[in-house]
Amino acid sequence: MHIGNFKETYDADEAVFRTPTVRWWMGALFVALAIFPFAADDYLLYMANLTGIAIVGALGLNILTGFAGQISLGHAAFVGVGAYTSAILTTRLGMPFLLCLPLSGLMAAALGVIVGAPSMRMKGLYLCIATLAAQMIFMFVFIHWESLTGGIRGINVPPPTIFGLKADTEFKYYFVTLPVVILAVAATRNIFRTRVGRAFIAIRDRDISAELMGINLFRYKLYAFAISSFMAGVAGCLWVNFIKIVTPEHFPLHESIRYLAMIIVGGLGSVLGTIFGAIFMTLVPEILKNILSIFQAMNPTAMSYLFPLQSVVFGAMIVGFLVLEPHGLAEIWRRMKDFFRLWPFEY
C-alpha cells in the first residue's frame, strides 16, 4: 500500500508514474482502451470518438486558461481553423491525413499567436473580450470567405487514408483518434515538467512576480496561445475527418463556452480533470437527449417544454460545479482515491 511520500532519488521524484500501483492501473487502462472497440457498438464508438476529440481540444484550452491563466472565449474558432485547414488541404491539394494533422495544428497556432498578441498590453477581462472579438471575426470569415471555405454550405471531406487503410467507419476511426489523444495527454502532462510549463503556472499565479523572476511574460503568453491553438487545430482536423463535413455553424460562441465548461467541470489546471470534464460534457448532454427522446415517444406535445431543459441543465451544471465543487471532477476523484487509500483508518 502506498502511504507516505518519501523519495530517495531525483529519478523517483521526477517519475511520471510514481508507484507500481499507478503503473499497473495505467496498463489496465490501456488494455481496456484497446479492447473497448471490439466490445462496443457503432453508437458507443461514435461517442468515444467525439469524446476523444473533445479531450484534445479541451486540453488545449486548459493549457491556456487553466495553467497559464488567460481566459479565451474563442477556442472553438481555433478548432474551426484546424478543421477548415484540414478540409481545404485534403480537397484542394489532396494532402494525406498524416500531413494534414500537424499542418492544421500549425495553422491554428499561427493564428493563435496573432490573437494572443494583444496580451502584450491587456490582461484579464479585457483580454477575455478581445478573444470574444476574435471568435466573432473568425466566424465571419468562415461564413463570408466563400471562395475558400464554401460559405454556409461548407466543405465535404472524404474519409482519411492512413498507410493505405481507409478510416471510414467509427470502428476504424477509433484507432486514429486514440493515439492522438494519448499523445496529446502525454505531451500536456510533460509540458508542465519543463521550464515553459512552470512559467505558465507562475504567470497564472501572479504575473508580476513571474516577470520579476525573469519570465518574459509576452513570450510565454504567446507560447501558451500557440500551444493551445495547436491542440485546438489538431482537434479540429480529427473532427472534420470524422464528421466529413465542415460548416461555420459547427463553431459558434456556444461551442467555445462548451469547451470552457469542460475544463471548469473537470478542474482548472488539471490534466486528469480535463479528461473527466471532456467525457462528462460530451456524455451528459447525449444521455439527457436520449432520455428526452423517450419522453417524446410517450408524449409528443411535451417536447416543446422538455427540449429547452437541455440548456437549463447545461447552465445548471456549470453553476452547480462552480458553487459546490470549484475544483471540479478532478477534486472529487482525488477525494475518492484518498478515501479508498486510507480506508478503514481515515485518520
Binding site: 486558461t65 494583444p118 477581462l125 477575455c128 472579438a133 465548461a261 447545461f314 447552465g315
Partner: protein, 294 residues
C-alpha cells in the same frame, strides 16, 4: 448625404439603447468587479415580463413598466443572493463562467415558460414615423430612444447625487474605506445587481418593442461588450459614449460596407473597432488603469 444622416440618426437611436444596457453592466462591474455575461438574458427576460403583463394580463402601459422594473430588480437580487454571493474571491474565469451558465439557464427557462415562438409587442406608441426634418425615424425607435435616454439620465443622477449612489461609488472605489464609513458593502452589491438588472430589463423592453421577442434575444447582449470595453469597463460616461459610438459605427458599417461584404458586417464592425481601440488603449477610452502591487 441623405443616407449618411439617416444612418447616423438610427445609429444614435440604437446607441441610446446600448448606452442604457451598458450602464447597467458597468454599475455591476464597478461595484462588484463581476463581468455579467448574462446581461443579454436579463434584457430578454425584461422584454418577456413586459409582454406578459401587457398582453397576457392586459395591464396598462405605465403600471406595466413599473412592474417590469420591479421584477427585474427582483431577478438581479436573486441572482446575486443565490449564485454570485457564493463566488466572492473566486478567480475571474469562475465568475465569468458562472454568469455564462446563468445565461444558459435563463434562456432555457424562458423557452419553457413562454415557448420559443416569435412574439411581437402591441402598438403602444403612435405608429406614424417621426420626421426630424433631416431624417425620418421609426416611431418605436424614437420613443425607445426617449425612454432609454431618460433612464440613463435618471441613473446617472442617482449615481452622482443620491446618498445611495454616493455610497455605491464609495464601495466601488475602496471597499475597506467604505466599510469603515458605515456603508453596508454587501447590500451595495445587491443594490448594484438590482439596478443593473433594471437597466438591462428596460433596454430589453425597448428592443423587444422594436424587433419583437424570442428567447435568443439575449444574443444581442454580446454587443454590449464592445460598448463597455470601448468606454472602459469602470467608466459610466464611457459606457454612455461607447453606446452611441457603437450604435453609429454599426449602422454606418451596415449601410456602406454591407453591400460589399454581406449582411454580417453590421454585427462584426463593433468587434473590429473594439480590437483596434484595445490595441491603442488597452483599458478602453476612459477606463481606469489599474496599478498593481505585489
Amino acid at each position: 448625404m441623405d443616407i449618411f444622416l439617416q444612418l447616423m440618426v438610427s445609429g444614435v437611436a440604437v446607441g441610446g439603447i446600448y448606452a442604457l444596457i451598458a450602464l447597467g453592466f458597468v454599475l455591476i462591474y464597478k461595484a462588484t468587479s463581476i463581468l455579467n455575461f448574462a446581461t443579454g438574458e436579463f434584457m430578454m427576460l425584461g422584454a418577456y415580463f413586459c409582454y406578459t403583463f401587457l398582453v397576457l394580463l392586459g395591464l396598462p402601459v405605465i403600471p406595466t413598466f413599473l412592474i417590469v422594473m420591479l421584477c427585474a430588480a427582483l431577478l438581479g437580487f436573486l441572482v446575486e443572493r443565490l449564485i454570485l454571493r457564493h463566488m466572492l474571491g473566486q478567480p475571474t474565469i469562475s465568475i465569468v463562467m458562472a454568469t455564462i451558465g446563468l445565461g444558459s439557464i435563463l434562456t432555457g427557462l424562458a423557452e419553457i415558460l413562454w415557448s420559443s415562438d416569435f412574439k411581437s409587442f402591441p402598438q403602444i406608441f403612435p405608429r406614424a414615423p417621426i420626421d426630424l426634418g433631416f431624417a425620418i425615424v421609426r416611431s418605436n425607435m424614437f420613443y425607445g430612444f426617449l425612454i432609454s435616454i431618460t433612464a440613463v439620465i435618471v441613473f446617472s443622477l442617482i449615481f452622482k447625487y443620491a446618498k445611495v449612489g454616493i455610497a455605491m461609488r464609495a464601495t466601488a472605489n475602496d471597499q475597506m474605506a467604505a466599510y469603515s464609513m458605515g456603508i453596508n458593502v454587501r447590500s451595495m452589491f445587491t443594490l448594484a445587481w438590482a439596478l443593473g438588472a433594471i437597466a438591462a430589463g428596460l433596454g430589453g423592453v425597448v428592443i423587444g418593442n422594436i424587433g419583437g421577442i424570442q428567447p435568443n434575444l439575449g444574443q444581442i447582449g454580446l454587443k454590449i461588450f464592445p460598448v463597455v470595453i470601448l468606454g472602459g469597463l469602470d467608466s459610466i460616461g464611457g459606457a454612455i459614449l461607447g453606446g452611441f459610438i457603437i450604435g453609429v459605427v454599426e449602422n454606418l458599417a451596415g449601410g456602406y460596407l454591407g453591400p460589399y461584404f454581406g449582411g454580417g458586417v453590421k454585427d462584426l464592425a463593433p468587434f473590429v473597432l473594439l480590437v483596434m481601440i484595445l490595441m491603442v488603449k488597452p483599458y478602453g477610452l476612459f477606463g481606469k488603469r489599474e496599478i498593481e502591487r505585489l
